[in-house]
């Protein structure tokens, strides 16, 4: 039993424990458990960064015999930071909900831990079937989080969220089963080897259909324009903790899936479809930014900014360049941190004023200077100011895109400018000006608990903006091997069977 197993299953144990423990202690218990998980997950870093290109903590135990499904997990440079992001944001989400959640407290924290279990599982699964299981498992708690503790239109948002994701994922299931009928296994590494060695050859049409089945389900989750319509609803209606987990972790499941599965498994189709996808990504970047600009609702604004930011990630992924891919993965983490922080701060403001309308605020900086400063740093990080985290990611993505097509890089750069516009305008409207009497009365500054929740994110914004060496080498190494995979297969056309290595041949 490796450390990774422990990190993966502790949330599940926590979920079960919370259902049994008396409701009075569930808040503290959840916080304690999630902190333990976080601390343990830090232990994953050393081993994985030492050999970023291999799978660390690999575990492979048979789960089901017919058809053969393995509990096969492992961690590499791609999944590592996403796992840490999940384990970090869970205790933060719990802290944020400390006072806000008053009803059915026990169930709320239990679902948060179940969600953590699902998302960590997604990031460490090396078996397609196992991946699908975790993918769906993460869906259920989020559905309840939105539906029970959300705002007025929560039911509509929750159902829409569930159905969108479900519709995408059934196609992925069909594709996974189809791959199984071809390869005789669900094991990701094994299938990859077989594809590489030419043991299974997919016709161009089949490859494209499989690619699209996977891509569609990931694109819904990302969400890529025009499949994004569930996101603003889900974000606006979700409670703060739900928004944080949704934006910071769950959306990453989609982009992670693109990098982990879509590119290496179906390189030919990925190359052929890249033009269209890049086009959609750019439309998404600009559309998201423009819609964000006119939003009167803060949460909706941040939600549309997510559509724009994740457009960058998709753009980077489908540039098929080292810089673009590195930037995309880095940007996933950045977006998780800065947008998570934004949702948290908006949530703090909502707890004080009970409104998400920008118009209800104005002059907040006067009664709550600390909140204003923190919000400003987060805003600057989000719009990509140098020395802060998003700058690195966006720069790399643009660099990668430019290597392929100057035009697409230029178009995407417009998105960067627009993001500065809407974020700064939001800041100006909400924090500057004269505070009205009632607002000043209801706007105490950050409490100690709120500080504790937000400080780790602020530190990470700076750290990731200044010292990328902590994070990037592990990501780059894995990306390099993925790219090698993608570009070699794509240039060679149909892979030749001559490359069968003896170990692979013996493995089956």
């Amino acid at each position: 039993m490796s450390l990774l197993d422990v990190v993966l299953f502790l949330p599940l144990l926590g979920f079960l424990a919370l259902l049994i423990l008396p409701a009075g202690v569930s808040r503290s218990a959840a916080l304690g458990i999630s902190l333990v998980i976080f601390v343990l997950s830090l232990g994953l870093i050393g081993t994985v960064t030492a050999a970023p290109d291999a799978y660390g903590f690999e575990g492979n135990t048979p789960w089901i015999n017919t058809p053969e499904i393995h509990y096969h997990i492992g961690l590499d440079g791609l999944g590592l930071w996403l796992v840490i992001l999940s384990t970090l944001l869970t205790p933060i989400a719990i802290l944020v909900s400390w006072k806000y959640i008053e009803q059915r407290v026990q169930l709320f924290y239990a679902f948060l831990l179940l969600l953590e279990f699902g998302v960590i599982g997604v990031f460490v699964s090396l078996d397609l079937f196992l991946f699908y299981v975790f993918w769906e498992v993460s869906l259920v708690p989020m559905y309840f989080l939105i539906g029970i503790w959300g705002h007025d239109r929560r039911i509509y948002a929750a159902v829409k969220f569930f159905l969108y994701t479900m519709a995408g994922s059934v196609l992925m299931l069909a594709a996974i089963i189809f791959l199984y009928t071809q390869a005789g296994t669900f094991d990701y590494v094994d299938i990859l080897n077989q594809l590489r060695s030419g043991r299974i050859v997919l016709s161009a049409q089949a490859e494209m259909l499989l690619f699209l089945a996977f891509f569609l389900s990931f694109a819904i989750k990302v969400p890529l324009f025009p499949l994004h319509t569930w996101l603003p609803d889900a974000h606006v209606e979700a409670p703060t903790a739900g928004s944080i987990m949704l934006a910071s972790v769950m959306l990453k499941m989609g982009t992670y899936g693109l990098v982990r599965f879509c590119l290496p498994l179906f390189p030919g189709a990925a190359h052929r479809a890249a033009g269209w996808i890049v086009g959609l990504a750019i439309v998404g970047i600009i559309y998201g930014a423009l819609v964000a600009m006119v939003q009167p609702n803060m949460k909706k604004l941040v939600a549309y900014s997510s559509v724009s930011h994740l457009g960058f990630v998709v753009l980077g992924i489908f540039s098929f360049t080292q810089a673009g891919l590195d930037g995309a993965v880095y940007q996933m983490l950045n977006h998780g941190i800065s947008t998570g922080a934004l949702f948290m701060l908006v949530g703090f403001m909502y707890e004080r004023r009970h409104s998400l309308e920008i118009a209800a605020y104005g002059g907040v900086a006067t009664p709550a200077p600390h909140l204003a400063i923190v919000f400003l740093i987060t805003t600057l990080a989000s719009i990509g100011l140098p020395m802060l985290n998003n700058f690195v990611g966006e720069y790399l993505v643009l660099q990668g895109a430019a290597q392929v097509s100057m035009a697409s890089a230029a178009a995407a750069a417009v998105g960067v400018i627009l993001s500065a516009c809407y974020m700064l305008w939001l800041y100006q409207r909400a924090f500057y000006g004269r505070a009205s009497e009632s607002l000043a009365h209801h706007m105490p500054d950050l409490s100690k608990r709120e500080w504790i929740a937000v400080v780790p994110l602020l530190i990470l914004m700076l750290w990731m903006g200044i010292y990328t060496q902590t994070f990037l080498p592990a990501i780059s190494a894995r990306n390099a091997s993925i790219l090698q995979e993608v570009n070699r297969s794509a240039t060679a056309g149909v892979p030749s069977p001559s490359g069968v290595s003896p170990e692979v041949a013996n493995a089956r």
């Binding site: 299981v133 299931l173 199984y180």
Partner: protein
């Protein structure tokens, strides 16, 4: 022809049927001679009989029974165990209902036992005669069960509709059976199989018509479109625990017979593949899209059961050993899930079944969190969310379909299951996202036996979802003939 009596071991192989029949008769006799106070023992007696029958079914050796009229093999053992477990759960889930309606009569238990006997005979049949006899024993008992409350017009109506369409279907089946007998010269399925495989086989056109007639009869029983019209009315009108029983036991038995025919009819059955394909798709589409519009939870579950019959038909269409194993697994998962769901409905409906509208489930998670959580689990299993039995059931079905190159049917089926999520979610929404209605009167705690049934179903659903091997290994071996 020399008169030959079955050997002793052959009696052992039909021990489950013998136990159940004797227990049923005993219960009827006891009611006649015992006073009213001792009525409470009927449920324990039937539970004991079912448990003993379950043991006998599991322990039975393989081989022919009753002069080759029955054949006990892996598949028969699996399905016999399944229908007996269904009977057990149905009895457990019924006692609260019967007490509540002051209808705790012996005949209820006896009828369930007889119906289970009929199903056991069906799934083990090796002769067309036994298929017919088993089907009729199972059906006649369930007609009466559907109308168990004689004075309730809804029960009357459900029973009458079930009876009319059910016996119409049986008549069709019988007419097809008669033709199959005439064409092949035997009613024994093993011999029919040999004749159909031999060089002197009758023309495929004629046997195809006979098989089609038989299929129509069975399609009624499994409520596959376009022969599904009875199901919503019957499930809605019948007592909720009876609906639970009907949606699981007889359906599983009919599917078992369908699989037996697919195996024995060979090329004749393969001809029917386009028909099965169309029926599977039609059932999924009609079931799911009609369910979306329902406001009565029993009716919703009825339409959902039509859709689920469609899923299982996909596996039957695949016509392979993997498909047969998938049918077994799915029926086991579906039976547990559906009985559990109906059991919760039984509980919430209260006396006279006044509370069976969807809105009566509003805020159930506040009033009875445990029951709501269990129903949520069953609904998630019906949706097909991983780590529940329903998920693996669907997974195996669509895997079998893809193995048989039914790509389009798979894609359409999976899309259907996404549509289905919508109406199951509506119930979840009501239970968890709404507050209890103003006039929601106090809901008493569930009775002990009903709770046992619900929790047993829940545990079964989870076990099938986390460790499906336990059942699937068995089903796969059973499907290898």
């Amino acid at each position: 022809m020399p008169v030959s009596f079955p050997a002793g071991v052959e009696y052992l192989r039909i021990l489950p049927e013998i136990i159940l029949t004797l227990a049923g008769v005993l219960i009827m006799l006891l009611e006649a001679v015992w006073s009213d106070q001792r009525r409470t023992v009927f449920a324990p007696i039937s539970l004991a009989a079912l448990a003993a029958a379950l043991w006998a079914a599991m322990a039975s050796s393989y081989g022919p029974a009753f002069s080759s009229m029955l054949a006990i093999g892996g598949s028969a053992t699996f399905f016999r165990a399944l229908v007996i477990v269904v009977g057990l759960l149905a009895v457990l889930a019924s006692s609260e209902y019967l007490t509540r309606e002051r209808a705790n009569g012996a005949e209820y238990y006896a009828l369930i036992l007889f119906s289970v006997v009929g199903q056991c005979v069906m799934v083990a049949a090796n002769d067309l005669l036994m298929v017919f006899v088993g089907l009729e024993i199972a059906s006649i008992a369930s007609y009466v069960l559907a109308g168990y409350l004689r004075d309730d017009p809804r029960n009357n109506e459900a029973a009458l509709k079930y009876f009319l369409l059910g016996s119409f279907a049986t008549a069709f089946l019988l007419y097809g059976v008669a033709w199959m007998y005439g064409l092949t010269g035997s009613t024994n399925l093993s011999i029919i199989r040999e004749v159909l495989l031999s060089s002197g086989a009758p023309s495929l056109g004629l046997t195809g018509v006979a098989a089609a007639l038989i299929f129509v009869g069975l399609a009624f029983k499994i409520s596959a479109a376009p022969f599904q019209i009875w199901a919503p009315d019957v499930y809605q009108g019948a007592p909720a625990p009876v609906s639970a029983f009907l949606s699981a036991g007889p359906k599983a038995a009919a599917f078992a017979v369908l699989v037996i025919f697919m195996v024995h009819f060979g090329a004749t059955a393969e001809q029917l593949q386009p028909v099965l394909w169309a029926c599977a798709l039609a059932s999924m589409v009609i079931g799911n899209f009609a369910a979306i519009q329902q406001s009565n939870i029993k009716r919703l579950l009825a339409y959902s059961s039509i859709a689920h019959a469609g899923y299982v038909l996909v596996a039957v269409t695949a016509n392979s050993e993997i498909g047969a194993a998938a049918v077994m697994f799915y029926m086991a998962a579906y039976a547990l899930t559906n009985i559990g769901a109906f059991a919760v409905v039984t509980h919430v409906a209260r006396k006279g079944e006044r509370f069976v509208s969807m809105s009566d489930f509003a805020g159930l998670s506040r009033r009875q969190p445990a029951m709501a959580a269990m129903l949520a689990l069953f609904l998630l299993s019906l949706i097909g969310v991983p780590l529940t039995g329903g998920f693996f059931g669907k997974f195996y079905i669509f895997k079998a379909a893809l193995d048989s190159h039914l790509v389009w049917l798979t894609v359409l089926g999976l899309l259907n299951s996404a549509v289905a999520a919508y109406y199951y979610l509506r119930v979840l929404v009501l239970m968890y996202f709404h507050e209890p209605g103003e006039g929601a009167e106090e809901l008493p705690a569930a009775g002990a036996s009903l709770q046992i049934a619900v929790y047993a179903c829940a545990i079964g659903t989870l076990v099938l979802g986390i460790l499906p091997d336990w059942v699937l290994d068995y089903a796969s071996k059973a499907a290898l003939k």
